[in-house]
């Protein structure tokens, strides 16, 4: 029920954004279509999160955006430093890291956050194992280092999704 309702609200928001009119006829048609699609896909959208029914999750999701932005800026500066440095201190390679997140949605958002951050790129996700390509793999304990970096995102994603 929660899934259908939140899917309905998302559908209706997209309808409003696309049509951009508050004409009652159009709103009614949009509501009917949004409800029909949300109901028809109730068994497909398994990972749909009932964001709207829990305001604290919505708040954490909103907070996550600036946090992610901050890390992206920081990683940008780091990559810029490595590129401009005359010695080119890079050591590219793929590391294997495990996540503690359970929900598929949280894992997907984590993978996308990793890819969005410059210098790291999630290559594949197999169950709870992430294969991440990094521009500079540290000498000692490469996997643990990645897991610590992922942990910073995980604490937020866990509050949003679990």
């Amino acid at each position: 029920m929660n899934k259908v309702l939140s899917a309905f609200v998302f559908n209706l928001l997209v309808w409003l954004a696309v049509t951009w009119t508050f004409d009652p006829v159009s709103l009614a048609i949009g509501a009917v279509l949004a409800a029909a699609i949300a109901f028809a896909l109730r068994n497909v959208e398994l990972e749909e999160v009932p964001l709207l029914l829990m305001p604290h999750r919505l708040l954490w999701a909103l907070l996550y955006i600036p946090v992610l932005f901050l890390y992206v800026v920081r990683a940008n500066l780091d990559v810029a430093w490595r590129v401009l440095h005359p010695a080119l201190p890079i050591r590219p390679g793929i590391v294997k890291a495990r996540t503690t997140l359970k929900s598929p949605g949280a894992r997907v958002l984590l993978a996308n956050s990793i890819t969005l951050t410059p210098g790291t790129l999630s290559v594949d996700v197999v169950d709870d194992t992430f294969y991440v390509h990094r521009i500079h793999v540290p000498e000692d304990d490469p996997d643990g280092d990645m897991e610590r970096s992922m942990g910073r995102f995980e604490s937020y994603l866990r509050r949003i999704f679990e």
Partner: protein, 152 residues
């Protein structure tokens, strides 16, 4: 198609999030085709795109794409027939393809109901037709020369 699991979890989850939104976007583009850019052709192709995405993400045997694939040919014909029925309804107002429904105020959704309905018929026709064509090409698994001599 050969992989029943479809693609990786990232693609599958994102498809689950976006599938309904793409559908409603396509429907909005088609419904408002007479006042804004768009129309049945664009909307129908967007809807077909959504189901193509579902087929590619979930594989050929699961999800909304597989369910739609069974009905695509029938819905294709339904779209063409409903266009014809709407055209014949025009005789109630005078001639073939005449606008038969009462017209509303300009610039609104109801300004011309018969064109809106024709747009929806085109959406069904184009969406189901293109998806059926995609299924035919994508599911085809013929190996080279496997039919040689079979009916030569």
């Amino acid at each position: 198609m050969s992989d029943p699991q479809g693609m990786s979890i990232v693609v599958r989850v994102v498809t689950r999030w976006l599938f309904g939104l793409i559908l409603i976007f396509g429907l909005a583009v088609a419904l408002f085709g007479h006042v804004t850019p768009g129309g049945g052709f664009a909307g129908g192709t967007i809807v077909a795109c959504a189901f193509v995405l579902a087929i590619l993400a979930f594989g050929g045997s699961r999800g909304p794409g597989a369910a739609f694939a069974r009905w695509a040919s029938s819905l294709d014909a339904t779209g063409a027939l409903s266009f014809l029925v709407l055209a014949i309804l025009g005789y109630t107002a005078g001639s073939f393809l005449h606008q038969w429904a009462a017209r509303g105020e300009l610039f609104t959704l109801g300004s011309t109901p018969s064109i809106v309905l024709l747009n929806l018929a085109i959406l069904l026709k184009v969406g189901a037709g293109l998806f059926a064509g995609f299924i035919a090409v994508a599911v085809f698994e013929g190996a080279a020369g496997s039919e040689k001599g079979a009916d030569a």
